[in-house]
């Protein structure tokens, strides 16, 4: 008993340190002071961070903010998702000035059009729009995506004056592969043991999106040591979470409160980021073409994303399979208000889950919303439904 408590404390301790590093980009700013290096912002999905890192630049994800939106409302209509709204607010409040530039993937309509506003309201000389083909099935898609990755490399060269060597690419890939591998280990342990709270788990994922990779890897290894020593918590109910990004810590805490633990997700600021390594094909001699080919290969082996169209990449099938693989007993759709493309997929998935008798719940979330009484009541009822079934009642 005493031993378990000691380990508990140590997980908590590690996460506390980690949280200090990721709050207000503290870790990034420290890195900048120590190394004099430049950080480049990026947003999920599908920006190949390894390439940024190969240029000696630190990739830092912009993940919005839960703080009250102060200035963005004067620039945006009210129907923009809170991720984009709060991120633009960070720009307007000069809170991202520590970044040397930004890579903005055109992953959805909101991102596509808000990029202009980021550009207009910032001082960055480097703002790269990463264009993403939205159909994935046909040969033209890969050709164009590869061209876009080449364009990213050439723009980074122009901006940084650096031409990465073969070794630079290799080192960056190794660091991030290790990172993604560690994250996968953690989620696998979580699937078996459910030791970490949702809040802890997503703080860990967030650290991978925000911290220098080497530093993050040390934390992740420590966490794995700590959780490996733990025994499984069978009282917690395993769940799948579907959405794009979850910055609503109130939601995560409320899930924790009712013993509901996320063991699988399809978030772009989640499993989509770390589900695969980048595999360099040694058969390709040119180092640049080698990394382009690796990024293309990973991209076309990705999990579904509602803004992409692909015949055989069915999100419904993916969620059903994920639930089966992870032993999840329910699915939480945590959908950002006004994130329409993702929302369109919800009814058919819900229907399929119902057919399989898998309970699901849809929550409309916003970065700024605190856990309302209604949310608590709904989640409590959801937990009871699952528990009732689980006990065969």
């Amino acid at each position: 008993m005493g031993e378990t408590e000691a380990i508990e404390l140590s997980i908590t301790e590690i996460i506390t340190r980690l949280n200090t590093e990721i709050t207000d980009y503290t870790g990034v700013k420290k890195w900048q002071e120590q190394t004099g290096g430049q950080a480049v912002g990026w947003l999920p999905p599908d920006v190949p961070v390894e390439i940024i890192a190969a240029f000696g630049l630190l990739p830092v994800a912009i993940l919005g903010s839960q703080a009250e939106v102060k200035m963005a409302s004067a620039h945006l209509p009210n129907y923009v998702c809170s991720y984009m709204r709060s991120s633009l607010d960070l720009v307007l409040q000069d809170k991202l000035n520590f970044l040397a530039g930004l890579i903005f993937p055109q992953g959805c309509d909101a991102k596509k059009h808000i990029t202009d506003l980021f550009e207009r309201n910032s001082q960055w000389t480097f703002l790269h729009r990463q264009l993403l083909p939205k159909q994935l099935d046909r040969p033209s898609s890969r050709v164009y995506f590869a061209q876009e990755i080449r364009r990213l490399i050439s723009e980074l060269k122009r901006f940084s004056g650096v031409d990465p060597t073969e070794e630079d690419y290799r080192m960056a890939v190794t660091g991030y592969n290790l990172n993604r591998g560690l994250l996968r280990q953690i989620v696998e342990i979580q699937q078996k043991k459910r030791t970490l709270s949702n809040e802890q788990f997503f703080a860990i994922v967030k650290s991978a999106l925000l911290l220098p990779v080497a530093q993050c890897n040390v934390y992740l290894a420590e966490i794995i040591d700590a959780v490996s020593a733990e025994s499984a918590d069978e009282t917690k109910i395993p769940l799948v979470l579907s959405g794009t990004i979850v910055e609503s810590w109130e939601l995560l805490r409320t899930l924790d409160e009712f013993g509901l633990t996320i063991v699988g997700d399809d978030l772009y600021a989640g499993y989509r980021y770390y589900n695969q390594d980048l595999l360099l094909d040694e058969g390709i001699r040119d180092p640049e073409e080698r990394i382009v080919a690796a990024v293309v290969k990973r991209h076309y082996g990705q999990i579904p994303y509602s803004n992409y169209f692909a015949k055989d990449l069915d999100k419904k099938a993916f969620i059903l399979d994920l639930a089966a693989r992870t032993g999840a007993r329910g699915v939480v759709f945590a959908l950002l208000k006004f994130c329409d493309a993702v929302d369109y997929d919800y009814p058919l998935i819900k229907e399929a889950l119902a057919e399989q008798k898998i309970p699901s719940i849809k929550l409309e979330i916003e970065f700024q919303s605190a856990a309302s009484g209604q949310l608590k009541t709904r989640l409590q009822a959801f937990a009871e439904i699952i528990r009732g079934r689980g006990n065969g009642i």
Partner: protein, 408 residues
């Protein structure tokens, strides 16, 4: 002086032209002609050249708005878990699809849209169209082909053109395989020429709003544009617009104007509020105000180069205004505003069309500053009455016009 709308003499011809379109759409299957659902900005000339009937579900969406059916239809989709915050066209379309299923056998509910054999969305305009078509494709178990158009980016332009062109080739192959029909390039050239002619005539029509006072307004144009959307590439569009241009020339000769005593000229962005068309036309007309231009109605200005049929399709459709980013869109708006000599502009933060209205607040500020004219923001859904509050909107429009009037 009270505004009195003067009907077009060619009104009957327009009605017939549009009825013919709908009849052909609904009868296509019976005649063995495949129906492809397409989005407004889609290289539809390929379809006409291959005798595949292109059907525009957005028109149905707009018509549901005009006939005040959006809410009723949307509620059907909402009961299935779809959200009331989507684009109203999609809400109406999904509502009709599910409503038809629920009411099978009850005759008077639906049948307003032909069932698709193929679904061909493009995302030049937006993603919601693709999502709506995707759900429909699954429902009817029919193939979907997304024509993907990344936003125009100077440093990516060559590969973008190559990408779009390669997709045109893929589209042709897809159409040939799915329908067993072959594309004949000579036939395509004929269609392209018809399309160019129709676009040219349509732009002649729009130019009649340049006159001071204007001979037609934006409210007219929103109705008159039906054939350029649906019949582009077919003789029907050319015939109708030829007659319309003649009529407008007559109007000009007899000095007939759209708004008697016109004092104020405005630009509108972009889709009208369909259920309130008459209200808006009368509101402005009664205040001697003409809405004279909008990028929405000026979208159809293709000049195809039939010597390079596939290349010209690729380039022309990619260059549609909705595929440009902030600065270029602002330039296009400014150009129109200058050409049509407007005194101000109205931008609607249309809940439905999130992508195309997301940056309008900043655009308003930029344009006002550049041109030294005032702009006004509206907040109204283009179809769904649940997101339209007439009282406050009317008050704001009143004060806006007063402000412009007092400056003149």
């Amino acid at each position: 002086m009270a505004f009195k709308k003067i009907d077009f003499k060619t009104k009957g011809f327009l009605k017939k032209t549009m009825e013919d379109y709908n009849t052909q759409a609904m009868n296509a299957h019976a005649q063995g002609i495949p129906v492809a659902w397409v989005t407004a900005v889609f290289p539809v000339e390929l379809l006409y050249a291959m005798d595949i009937f292109p059907y525009y579900p957005e028109n149905f969406g707009a018509a549901s708005g005009t006939h005040r059916r959006t809410e009723e239809l949307s509620l059907i989709a909402e009961r299935r878990g779809y959200s009331n915050q989507y684009c109203s066209y999609a809400k109406a379309g999904l509502g009709l699809m599910y409503g038809n299923a629920e009411q099978a056998g009850k005759e008077d509910f639906g049948g307003e849209m032909p069932q698709p054999d193929l679904l061909l969305p493009s995302n030049i305009q937006c993603t919601p169209l693709g999502k709506w078509f995707e759900i429909t494709a699954k429902y009817y178990n029919k193939p979907l082909f997304l024509m993907d158009s990344p936003q125009i980016e100077a440093s990516s332009w060559e590969s973008q053109k190559a990408y779009f062109l390669q997709q045109i080739h893929e589209l042709v192959a897809f159409l040939e395989t799915s329908t067993g029909r072959k594309l004949d390039l000579d036939r395509l050239c004929e269609v392209l020429n018809l399309s160019t002619q129709a676009c040219d005539l349509w732009n002649q029509v729009l130019l009649f709003a340049k006159n001071k006072p204007a001979r037609i307004t934006y409210w007219d144009a929103c109705i008159l544009m039906g054939p350029i959307v649906c019949w582009r590439g077919r003789p029907e569009a050319v015939h109708y617009y030829t007659e319309l241009v003649k009529e407008l020339e007559e109007r000009a000769a007899s000095d007939l104007v759209a708004v008697e005593g016109e004092k104020i000229r405005l630009y509108w962005d972009h889709i009208p509020i369909w259920p309130k068309m008459r209200y808006f036309a009368e509101f402005f007309g009664n205040r001697q105000t003409s809405i004279v231009c909008s990028l929405y109605t000026h979208s159809w200005a293709y000049k195809f180069d039939a010597a390079h049929p596939l290349e010209t399709l690729a380039e022309s459709y990619m260059r549609e205004f909705v595929n440009y980013r902030f600065d270029q869109r602002v330039e296009k708006k400014i150009k129109l505003m200058r050409e049509y000599e407007v005194d101000g502009f109205i931008f609607n933060l249309n809940d439905s069309c999130k992508p195309n209205s997301l940056a309008l607040i900043e655009k308003k500020n930029v344009i006002s500053e550049r041109l030294g004219i005032p702009g006004m923001l509206l907040e109204a859904d283009m179809c769904d009455p649940r997101f339209f509050a007439e009282g406050p909107i009317q008050n704001r429009m009143e004060s806006f016009l007063e402000m412009i009037g007092s400056k003149k």
